[in-house]
């Protein structure tokens, strides 16, 4: 099918009204949004989003982005409402359905606000202009007298709802260039605290997550798991399981699973499978850091400047230390889940994922069928934090549904989620640095083994520096996590900065300001310090950070109770350009701070010989109500700067601020995350 005929079919299917197509820019956007779907798909490949004002006046916005609790359903609605001059309640977002929405690489990397929101704003602005054109020509009035306000077109004594101007026609427009957008200073809807658009669905329990989807005749599936990572199935006897009435056993290579009319029977059938496995000895969490060093690659320098040797020669004081980071799990409260249904060779899967099109691709590859015969629908999902990029559960449900000839639901148990998902990488970080007697940092050498390069860059003004990320061999399946390695790298760097300040007997705030020229970084630091009352509080620590276009600074106050740290109060100043929704931004900042407490103080996966040893919430501690300190946030709203995403970066500042506060309180600097595994003296 040619691109032109694809577009014709697509537009015919949409029907009358105004259609505004967003055409992805090249090449920067294409790189961000990755491979574009094409060839035989129902929609033109180059379109990244579109807005449709139907003949009845209803506004629907189509985007492949997913809602996982970061509230983009609301913030994107605000962006459209702002430019269309229509009420928030009149706009419907159709998200993350591979049959109905355009291709999207996935919802991660804090990219929705900087890349998707501007496209939708442009589409809405173009739709508004089109409505004004229609009205001017219908009313035969000067175009300059027509305007759109509160969902109505007004001009020269006329008023019309959007629907009254269509008359069964279709108007199509593409956005390539830069339509004029409303500057942030003039925002009326964006930039304000609009409540979650579908909040009522959640407080009433009516929202249906993937785990809640039910299909006629649906069976419940359970998957046989290996005894250890990498274990090989040497024999499987399924005779007892297949004798249970209603049970289907699906087998394909190493994959074995059961489906039954109810979850209880599926559980019995799973227990009736007699499997034997062969597994190999594997590293444990106790050997982890030596193992990561031993298997490290040479790596590449990033953002090197000057000569570290020369910088060290100038230094009056030198400090070297090693920091370690444990593996931790995402633990989205909704575990991986999928409902799969085959219908005449077409597969439909409901599943919670941050990458609907990626999961479609995984399914196409698993079943060797073309992507257009697969539909992935993502109901707004019970969180992800970077942990739901992959489609293993969707494939499992689809295999079972194929074998059973009926729809099948698979919901991972918490133990499966703790074991068979992927994790935030553990790592080792070595830093050696030098500071001159006048308090200037003269040399900085930073090596990260395995945990990742994100957030390794410095905003400090250091003339001689070397930063190297060394990939290593991971003993566990590792992947994306909110903020990636920026948390580990910020923890190590900001802890080390305090050591340097201590070496020259300078106050940590004064020392940072002396070594910082970056104005945005200085601004958040000063804002946080002022709000916190820096200099007046004991047992206090601070940190700064920069990642994914956002700046932050944090202050923390701790108490040591029974040898263990308790966080009493934290302040975070956060700046991500122009603020789109201040209340939801505060919610993200507060939430990230709370989540960060776990990794900072107590979260840690224990493992040995290919098994997770603490795969349940009774043995793996996550932050609870009682762990939460007083949290104060200062939003630095830069209406003169483009909006950056904010779902991740607010997580990076807590651990180093708390570590530095523990240093202030005890004179001992924590060098590992989590910090509170052993009593401090």
């Amino acid at each position: 099918m040619t691109s032109a005929s694809t577009r014709r079919d697509f537009l015919a299917a949409l029907g009358g009204g105004i259609v505004v197509l967003c055409v992805a820019g090249e090449p920067a956007d294409a790189q961000e949004s990755g491979r574009r779907s094409g060839g035989g798909d129902a929609r033109p490949a180059e379109i990244s989003a579109w807005l449709h004002i139907a003949e009845d006046g209803g506004v629907t916005v189509f985007t492949g982005k997913t809602e996982v609790g970061q509230n983009i359903r609301t913030s994107l609605t605000q962006a459209v409402a702002e430019e269309l001059h229509a009420p928030v309640a009149s706009i419907k977002m159709l998200m993350a359905d591979t049959d109905l929405t355009p291709f999207d690489m996935g919802t991660f990397g804090s990219r929705t606000t900087p890349t998707m929101a501007p496209q939708l704003r442009k589409a809405a602005a173009a739709a508004r202009e089109a409505l004004m054109d229609l009205a001017a020509s219908e009313w035969k009035v000067d175009r300059g007298t027509v305007q759109v306000a509160d969902g109505k077109v007004i001009g020269n004594g006329h008023t019309a709802g959007f629907s009254e101007l269509m008359h069964g026609r279709q108007f199509v427009q593409s956005i390539h260039g830069e339509p004029k957008l409303t500057p942030a200073l003039e925002w009326k809807v964006a930039g304000h605290a609009i409540p979650k658009v579908d909040g009522r669905e959640f407080v009433t329990g009516h929202h249906r997550y993937s785990t809640d989807v039910k299909r006629p005749g649906m069976l419940y599936g359970k998957v046989l798991r290996p005894v250890a990572f990498g274990a090989q199935l040497t024999s499987l006897d399924d005779s007892a399981a297949t004798q249970i009435p209603g049970v289907t056993v699906a087998r394909e290579g190493e994959f074995a699973a059961v489906a039954a009319p109810d979850a209880e029977t599926a559980g019995r059938a799973l227990a009736a499978l007699k499997a034997e496995w062969k597994s190999e000895p594997q590293p444990s969490d106790r050997d982890l850091f030596a193992y990561l060093r031993a298997n490290a690659e040479a790596g590449e320098d990033r953002d090197a400047r000057g000569s570290v040797d020369r910088g060290m020669a100038e230094a009056g004081h030198k400090v070297a230390a090693t920091y370690t980071i444990a593996y931790i799990a995402h633990i989205p409260l909704e575990p991986r889940a999928a409902v799969a249904e085959w219908n005449g060779g077409k597969l439909t899967v409901w599943t919670g994922t941050q990458r609907p099109f990626g999961v479609r691709e995984e399914l196409a590859s698993a079943f060797q069928i073309p992507e257009e015969r697969i539909r992935v629908i993502v109901p707004d999902t019970g969180s992800g934090y970077g942990g739901k990029h992959s489609g293993e559960c969707a494939i499992e449900a689809a295999r079972l549904a194929k074998a059973a000839g009926k729809p099948v639901k698979v919901v991972w148990t918490r133990q499966e989620e703790f074991t068979w998902s992927y994790f935030r990488p553990g790592g080792v970080i070595d830093i050696s640095a030098g500071v001159r007697a006048d308090g200037r940092i003269s040399a900085w050498e930073f090596h990260n083994y395995n945990s990742g390069p994100s957030g390794m860059q410095v905003t400090y003004d250091i003339p001689n520096r070397r930063m190297v990320f060394h990939p290593s061999k991971s003993p566990l399946r590792q992947g994306s996590y909110r903020g990636l390695a920026a948390t580990a790298n910020h923890f190590a760097r900001e802890s080390h900065i305090d050591d340097l300040a201590h070496a020259v007997a300078m106050d940590p705030l004064e020392f940072r300001l002396k070594n910082l020229k970056d104005e945005r970084q200085r601004a958040v630091l000063q804002a946080a310090a002022e709000k916190f009352g820096w200099g007046k509080r004991k047992n206090a620590g601070l940190s700064i950070g920069f990642e994914k276009g956002s700046y932050l600074a944090m202050c923390a106050e701790v108490a040591i109770e029974g040898g263990r740290p308790k966080i009493l109060r934290v302040v975070q100043a956060f700046e991500c350009g122009a603020v789109v929704n201040p209340d939801h931004l505060r919610n993200q900042v507060e939430g990230a701070i709370v989540m960060a407490i776990g990794g900072a103080l107590f979260e840690q996966l224990r493992f040995a010989d290919g098994k997770i040893l603490n795969p349940m919430l009774s043995r793996y501690r996550v932050p609870r109500f009682g762990d939460v300190p007083v949290i104060e946030t200062v939003l630095v709203d830069r209406k003169d700067l483009p909006s950056a995403g904010a779902g991740e970066t607010p997580i990076v500042g807590l651990a180093p601020a708390v570590g530095n506060a523990i240093f202030a309180a005890t004179g001992k600097h924590p060098r590992s995350m989590p910090m509170a595994t052993e009593a401090l003296s």
Binding site: G69, T204, G205, E264, P335, D380, G382, M595, R624, F625
Partner: protein, 167 residues
């Protein structure tokens, strides 16, 4: 022989003010019967060991973890799920308070949080923040909206007090 021979099936549950016919073996979890048999999916599976509170429902007004409660233990009691909290189309004050304070992100913990909060307010009409934290310690919100949830419970207590005075 079936695995539950000799134990009486649970045939009726009193849910959200209505008697519902079920046919469940007694040791099945209340959560599974509510979700799979009665399609009341507001209570969520989160951990299966009573550690996260996403499955919380009320039995005679008291919060229980339905994932570790046998359905037989709920027979003959008043079961309230999140779907039954509205009355005559009006949200419960705590549901309203969650909306007002924006006390959710992904919302997966929300129904359990609200029912734990309702249970607390049933025993203590004006709890202090420390009492709220203590009572809600068994409910996990991975998105970290705890401070807002505390604020929502506080606000609902205030609203209920005002309503009582008015009536």
């Amino acid at each position: 022989m079936t695995h539950n021979e000799g134990m009486a099936q649970v045939t009726e549950l009193h849910v959200n003010g209505t008697r519902r016919r079920v046919s469940a073996s007694p040791e099945r979890s209340l959560l599974s019967v509510l979700r799979d048999d009665l399609d009341l999916t507001g209570a969520k599976y989160g951990c299966g060991e009573g550690q996260c509170g996403a499955c919380t429902v009320l039995l005679d007004g008291q919060a229980v973890r339905s994932c570790i409660t046998h359905v037989s233990a709920a027979a003959g009691k008043r079961i309230t799920t999140i779907e039954g909290l509205e009355s005559a189309g009006a949200l419960h004050p705590l549901q309203e308070a969650f909306l007002e304070t924006g006390a959710m992100q992904c919302g997966y913990c929300t129904s359990g949080m609200i029912l734990s909060g309702v249970s607390l307010l049933g025993q203590n009409a004006s709890p202090t923040d420390a009492e709220i934290v203590h009572a809600m310690q068994g409910n996990i919100c991975r998105c970290g909206t705890y401070p807002r949830i505390v604020a929502a419970v506080r606000l609902a207590a205030l609203h209920q007090k005002t309503m009582r005075r008015a009536s």
